[in-house]
């Protein structure tokens, strides 16, 4: 064993190093700037991770964790909450070093996944990154939708085509990679269905068991998808918030690394890559406005953080992007507080919406989401279920993108904001489409027209064609 100060090491050196804090023979190391190294082969890392508690430290551009409330600093460990005030911890980086080492060109030569921004992600050991293709999804110019809604320029960030068909692959990729670094024997999450699938998929690639805790009443396809990856799926008789409280207790009394509990400071970092990509895909320019489907507020806050970080490291110049929240009426605690001008988030005790993926009654990042919206002069709306489904259909019919209700919330919110005059015609708007329609068939199917049933004869089709005729368009001979 060698004792060494990690601050002098460059993490990009291609060596396999891991760091003990607790082993059978050594005492826990309180100051993790002084660490023990051993060299192990990649092949043995999985076995090793299951045997040892490991702590990742300082080999990346990440410096430390800092409490968002009181500013107290912590080493980069498996901790998410300030011991002094219970505030959430966030990763801080050496932005000067990133600015020196990272350029638009170096990013462009990286992988076509979120890991093209690895210097701005809190990972120490590149060998442990679990990359199954999350991120760097298409930013599509939505001319039809823009025309329909009366906008000059609108873009769809289509995150419904990630590996497990939602944006949650981004934070899950970071969380599972980080769990490997920490040597966690298992990963877990609390989920409304998208995260459970994303965690389960990344965990299976990492050969880690995954415990996914979900509330009752989720969509069947999200459940079967999670199970297909081999996760232990635990359905709890209660709301998302009940599940969240239970899992928080489990996280603090077990060795499971929960993505959105004890891994949360690292996990949320994955989501900010949406902001990075949007800017890169717009030629390193920030948009004028981003509409964010919002549940816990973590994604919305991450978008703000991502934009600020890009400016901090010199990848974009001045930006003035407005960030707005889209929540379903049946669970809209952040938008309600925003529209009331209040800082106090009143939890929704019994969320009631077809939009299951946004049904979080007590949003952990609600306060910070409000901060982000107000600081950027954003706004928000809470469309009802009918308007949400209309949004799903509108996006499908105009742009050929089939989204789950969360995407419908974003479309409906955009429509309402334009109608209310809160978005100008010439604002360049980006809609975050965070999940795929195939994951929420039950909710969407009801509002669609039924298929036409005919017998297999040309006469039957001709009869039908006469009924379906489009004025001025001759599309079937004889119809």
């Amino acid at each position: 064993m060698i004792r060494k100060d990690v601050r002098n090491l460059d993490w990009r050196v291609n060596i396999s190093l891991e760091i003990f804090i607790r082993s059978g023979r050594s005492k826990p190391v309180k100051n993790n700037r002084v660490i023990f190294f051993i060299t192990i082969s990649n092949e043995n890392i999985f076995k090793y991770n299951h045997r040892k508690k490991v702590i990742g430290v300082g080999l990346s551009y990440a410096i430390e964790l800092k409490c968002r409330e009181c500013g107290k600093s912590y080493p980069l460990g498996l901790v998410s909450t300030c011991s002094r005030c219970f505030g959430p911890l966030s990763v801080t980086y050496d932005y000067n070093k990133i600015a020196n080492d990272v350029s638009r060109e170096s990013i462009a030569s990286g992988p076509s996944t979120l890991w093209r921004y690895k210097e701005l992600l809190p990972i120490n050991n590149p060998d442990l990154i679990i990359d199954i293709g999350a991120g760097f999804t298409r930013l599509l110019k939505a001319e039809n939708l823009a025309e329909k809604l009366g906008l000059k320029e609108c873009y769809i960030k289509n995150d419904s085509v990630n590996p497990t068909f939602s944006f949650k692959d981004r934070p899950a990729s970071v969380a599972v990679s980080k769990a490997l670094e920490f040597g966690s024997p298992a990963v877990g999450c609390v989920s409304t269905g998208n995260l459970s699938a994303a965690m389960a998929a990344h965990a299976s690639k990492a050969r880690l068991p995954c415990f996914a805790f979900i509330p009752q009443g989720l969509e069947a396809s999200k459940i079967s998808q999670t199970l297909a990856y081999g996760a232990h799926l635990i359905t709890v008789d209660g709301t998302y918030d009940d599940v969240n409280r239970l899992a928080t207790e489990i996280a603090f009394t077990s060795n499971i690394a929960f993505a959105n509990i004890n891994l949360r400071p690292y996990y949320v970092e994955g989501s900010k890559t949406l902001a990075f990509e949007v800017c890169e895909q717009l030629g390193w320019q920030a948009p004028d406005h981003v509409i964010v489907p919002t549940a816990s507020g973590a994604l919305l806050h991450a978008i703000w953080r991502g934009l600020r970080e890009l400016e901090e490291v010199g990848l974009i110049d001045d930006w003035s992007t407005r960030i707005s929240a889209a929540q379903p009426e049946g669970c809209s605690p952040i938008v309600q507080a925003l529209l009331k001008g209040s800082d106090e988030i009143i939890p929704v005790e019994a969320p009631n919406t077809i939009c299951k993926s946004l049904a979080i009654g007590d949003p952990a990042d609600g306060y910070y989401a409000l901060q982000a919206i107000r600081a950027t002069k954003g706004t928000g709306r809470a469309p009802n279920d009918d308007e949400i489904l209309e949004g799903v259909r509108l996006l499908a019919k105009t742009e050929g993108i089939y989204t789950e209700p969360a995407g419908g919330v974003a479309v409906a919110t955009l429509k309402q904001l334009i109608e209310a005059g809160e978005i100008d015609y010439d604002e360049r708007v980006v809609l975050l489409i965070t999940g795929n329609g195939l994951k929420a068939q039950e909710a969407i199917a009801g509002g669609l027209q039924r298929s036409h049933k005919i017998s297999p004869t040309i006469e039957e089709f001709r009869k039908l064609a006469n009924k379906l005729c489009t004025p001025g368009v001759k599309w079937f001979k004889g119809a």
């Binding site: 219970f86 959105n260 509990i261 952990a364």
Partner: protein, 96 residues
Amino acid sequence: MVVKVNVKFSAMIKNVTDADAATIDVNGETVNDLLAALIRRYGAQFEKRVIDEKTGKLRRFINVFVNGRDIRNLQGLGTKLKDGDEVRLIPTVAGG
């Protein structure tokens, strides 16, 4: 007026209270009175952890549940307590 309530502490507060649960006699009838009783019982360390020194109010991330309901959906710190109520103190910055 004294009410006797059962308080359950989350794992994150347990290191101050040294117990998962306690039965507390509250001089008064509100959650605010209960907090005062808990501070008396568990001392400055507990107070520092749950009360924001700047505002004198409960810290933003401490959630209090009375018989399973968040006090933000009741009358906040003024929520009335009665004998036998179960109160949970849960710091939550999780999920999403």
